[in-house]
């Protein structure tokens, strides 16, 4: 149900894109208006969401400590998994954001005869996630060749390395393969495992299918139905130089690709995809475990009713005297 809905949604988007490319009057809307709107929604939505998060304080310093803390000097502490300095936190965050450190620890539990509960290596989710995210980032940056003139050298270099293996014309980018492979794994995994299927929502299938759609229409356009790449770049450059234009030669597949990309942009700030920004704001990861060294202030530290010593002594005075425990009052 959730899968079908997501599939349907992506299908409708593709159909819309096709329509946008075919109907003359709509080409400007789909080629210029929607992209502008989507980028605007993406940027504004993302900034809004981050500020919305930032408006709330982090009242307590609650890092998850995944290694030895810093205590006595002769005990080796875990500077990256349990950092107590800002530098260490930066390191931890870098590992987390760039290499998915936490997910790298992933294990798979099984209960065997005995009973024996065993925990095995499970790097597949980590590997597929890493392959997918890195490929997506590289592909995203590679696309800047359509948005810059002249194309900066580092993008050309990136293209060269990505297309190092001379496969097909135009050359196949390895990141394209990794992206599709990674996404496919993530999608199949979600459908395959009963537990995962049980927790999965439309909001989990939809982004996967959406990005898969983006990737496949892109690959389709590059390797199968060719589109006029100069026209595409003119369109893209029109957007970033605020002189919008939609060249005649740009074909329908491009519009399918574009509407999916726009949908992704516009959908992004309102979805779980915000984990991109959220991971930076996770208080269990981005705080130093220096709790007993440096004071952390809660801006709304509540006034609470306490049971003071004086009240306590008053209540138990007789018993204290009987037990020969010294009193303040004396």
């Amino acid at each position: 149900m959730n899968v079908l809905f997501s599939l349907l949604a992506v299908g409708v988007l593709i159909a819309l894109g096709y329509l946008g490319g075919q109907v003359a009057g709509l080409r400007f809307v789909f080629g210029v208006v929607i992209p502008y709107a989507a980028i605007l929604v993406f940027i504004a939505g993302l900034v809004y969401k981050v500020i919305y998060w930032a408006k709330s304080p982090v009242p307590f310093r609650i890092p998850t400590t995944c290694g030895q803390e810093t205590t006595l000097p002769w005990i080796k502490s875990s500077t990256l998994d349990n950092p107590h300095t800002t530098l260490g936190v930066l390191g931890r965050m870098a590992l987390e954001v760039l290499f998915f450190r936490s997910l790298f620890r992933n294990t798979r539990m099984e209960i065997k005869e005995g009973p024996r509960v065993v925990y095995g290596e499970n790097v597949y989710l980590w590997a597929a996630g890493l392959a997918f995210h890195w490929s997506f980032l590289i592909i995203f940056i590679r696309h800047f060749r359509f948005f810059t003139e002249p194309v900066p050298g580092f993008i050309l270099a990136m293209q060269y390395v990505d297309g190092f293996m001379q496969i097909g014309v135009p050359v196949l980018y390895l990141t394209d393969l990794f992206l599709v492979a990674g996404l496919t794994f993530l999608f199949i995994r979600r459908l395959w495992s009963p537990q995962l299927r049980y927790i999965s929502q439309a909001a989990d299938y939809f982004p996967l299918l959406l990005i898969l759609g983006v990737a496949l229409t892109g690959i389709w356009m590059r390797h199968f139905t060719k589109t006029d790449i100069v026209g595409v770049k003119e369109l893209a450059m029109g957007i970033v130089t605020f002189s919008p234009m939609v060249p005649e030669s740009v074909g329908s597949v491009f519009f399918m690709h574009l509407i999916l990309v726009c949908s992704l942009f516009a959908y992004f700030p309102f979805s779980k995809l915000m984990h991109m920004a959220g991971v930076f704001l996770s208080p269990t990861r981005n705080l130093a475990n220096d709790n007993r060294m440096v004071r952390h202030v809660n801006p709304w530290n509540p006034e609470v009713e306490v049971h003071t010593y004086a009240q306590w002594e008053e209540e138990f005075k007789d018993k204290l005297e009987a037990a020969e425990i010294p009193l303040d009052k004396d």
Binding site: I167, G168, L172, L216, I219, H223, T225
Partner: protein, 260 residues
Amino acid sequence: MAKSTRRGFLKLAGVAAVGMGAKPVYDAFARRSAPEQPTPPAEALTAKRWAMVVDTRKCLREHGCTDCITTCHLVHNVPDFGNPKDEVKWVWKEQFEHGFPEQHNEFMSDDLRHKDVLLLCNHCDNPPCVRVCPTQATWKREADGIVMMDMHRCIGCRYCMAACPYGSRSFNWRDPRTHIAKIDEGFPTRTRGVVEKCNFCAERLVRGEIPACVEACKAKALAFGDLEDPESEVRDLLSRHFNIRRKPGLGTQPEVYYIV
């Protein structure tokens, strides 16, 4: 053998592109790969089995004639690095005892022993180089028996060079462009990292021209023609003169014959 690299890619991509279904992809985009029947130009020279006859007796040596070599290397943009290590050569001359080491004979006439003979790719009927190539970058044309190189596909493993018992193949150890005195626009240069060799002037045959070396030989020591054609000059020469081939014992069936 795959028809084209694109089809090969399509197969690969079709498998990779989950959800697309390989078959419709293949059908939809393979359309241009079914080309219109090409009309061979009327002037093209065709044969069932091209062969060359070298008449060593006619081949001039006194004044060190290298017309055939120079011409060949000129029209094929063969570079000259001036050192034997990087050397690329399509046709070249060596002393008889090197060209035919197994024919070595202490009491051979000095004339022959030290004679420079013209060596080139033998375009063998049973070429070991073709057998070993891991990518089919070198292959034997079924139509006319020319052993061809596809410089676009060669991965530069040099297995063919190890397999060739005649030393007929050269590798582009470095970029050849910098060492070609005058580039002939009609023929591409090679890129570094691929193997090349004599192609019996396949590009000239199609234009109706005989190989450049044959044309260039002022002593008329070279003959080129169809072995399957009983009327051909080469058949005539071979039937009338004693001739040998290089290393016949290896069973490669060279198609370059030497009249001694």
